[in-house]
Symmetry: C2
Subunit: 364 residues, 2 copies
Amino acid sequence: MQSLTVDLGDRSYPIHIGPGLLGRAELILPHLAARNVAIVSNTTVAPLYMQRLAAPLRAAGVNITEVVLPDGEAFKNLDTLNQVFDALLRARCERKTTLIALGGGVIGDLTGFAAATYLRGVPFIQVPTTLLSQVDSSVGGKTGVNHELGKNMIGAFYQPRLVLADTDTLQTLPDAELAAGLAEVIKYGLIRDLPFLGWLESNMESLVGRDTDALIEAILRSCQNKAEVVAEDEHEGGVRALLNLGHTFGHAIETAAGYGNWLHGHAVAAGTLLAAETSLGLGWISEADVVRVEALFHRAGLPVRAPAYGVERYLDLMAQDKKVEAGRIRFILLKALGEAVVSSAVPPELLQRVLSGRFIQPTA
Amino acid sequence: MQSLTVDLGDRSYPIHIGPGLLGRAELILPHLAARNVAIVSNTTVAPLYMQRLAAPLRAAGVNITEVVLPDGEAFKNLDTLNQVFDALLRARCERKTTLIALGGGVIGDLTGFAAATYLRGVPFIQVPTTLLSQVDSSVGGKTGVNHELGKNMIGAFYQPRLVLADTDTLQTLPDAELAAGLAEVIKYGLIRDLPFLGWLESNMESLVGRDTDALIEAILRSCQNKAEVVAEDEHEGGVRALLNLGHTFGHAIETAAGYGNWLHGHAVAAGTLLAAETSLGLGWISEADVVRVEALFHRAGLPVRAPAYGVERYLDLMAQDKKVEAGRIRFILLKALGEAVVSSAVPPELLQRVLSGRFIQPTA
């Protein structure tokens, strides 16, 4: 087991990474406010892992309410959130009941938002079961749900008390979801950690082959990178925006395709290549750099072309991005590999050109 | 105009109280993050006051989105919240758009929760237009919505940047709503300010007659009392619970009657008398004290009897209160007039007796 701490003063919390962590109640017990827990999961994850997590806690005298939601990004909305509130209220969960999210990013974001807002806030623990949620959404305190007019438009910053990343859960993950996680892993190399990018180029086959040691190393270094950024800028006033490399384009892809039709990580990969093309057009990185990024995404099993929904549709969707300020779209671009920057100064002709190239016919 | 500051470190904010404040854009402008504002109001208040607030802001170059919701406690729910999000997203409101709540407690609580969660948090200003919201819900940062299984079960602590209490808006308030506000005003005297209780006994006719100077004084002293409590205990770990005198009983009345059928302040008045009876039963206050409290509520035009829904129904509803801890109901009781305390030590026989007396047949 590897561990690190996300340093946020009195809201600091530990992340443990390794095999077999689901069954280790002794890691969880010290973080409970009372012996009452509600575990929120979904219909895919609960049959695999609910009892592995719940049984040792029950054996330790913890009273557990199980809440099982439908699976998928399409259910990350206020209606499903209300289902969680229904369950918590019916079970008479109180202010010291700890909510545990057992699942991927959707479960983590939604359960975190439920924890932030149930009785105006109850304790929260993350048990992410996908690579994407282990390296991204379980670190940083962003919680929330989607709105039909945009992704993650409703939410709160709310920190967990503990994150348990059990690498065993990655063995049952579909290939496409493993790849989606690798997109975010590669992102950390691209935005701020060139040595890590090199390590990924040397170890991509081990990661795709789900070697436990390689996965632990990739998760640890990803979480370290994210934790450093979040500690510096908890509420995304500055440097934290860099974590959104590929996301302005990526969110537009996800929205245009309809939630759930493009996995978030896949959209980020295709979006990152658009950001890389834009950076190339500004003369910041070379064609060789773009090819290098493309090759690494390709080896990870990720798409490197976005669906061709047309320039106008993309511009319209990107104008709704949360990062828009005074009507200007703020892009995260690459000054160099390993060095991302925020820029609003993309010439419209360049944006037009980037959004006209590197596309495939949409399938969804 | 009278002013005070709610002292919460870097989240401190001013409250201004007086006539004609709605039209004074110069009080609002320094608190805006950008010249973009969304004013959320309801179908009762908007026709009376929306333009009085909006016109001077527009004249000062502020871009305004008007959001008008249906009126009433029955609409304080996630569905109406989603209507606010719809309107904000359609108007492309950004992170620096300030949400202004123009209305009573329902609008304030709901708009505050929208501000806390839209794009994970945007700036928020309160313009309360009822006596209840001016003395209570606009101070302290409690925001949220109801759930069919309980009041204010979903929400967040989120502080406004400014509160403007325009006493002119109280002139159009229905008598029953003025009385509802007076219930909370009297509460501050009962829980911690015996001199203020005396002042209220000397000035109740001026207040009921809507004398501006008397109203300003009552609002100021109420807000000062609440601000002191909130500054000491922002997240209701301790002393803040005392503000809930009459509320454990009161919330049960509101829920049993159906939201909106009993005004919150009326339920608090009837609930406070139940708390006073309980305190009398414990030997803490005298029968003369109970009569004194009853007389003051009566002069304010408030009910002093709760509807007779039966002991079991009340006990069941009170067990769902947010203040329940480890299954025990925590009551706010009166050690003396002017001195409230938290107690879980109410003998079941006493509770049974209190819940059997002082009731009227329910009308709703």
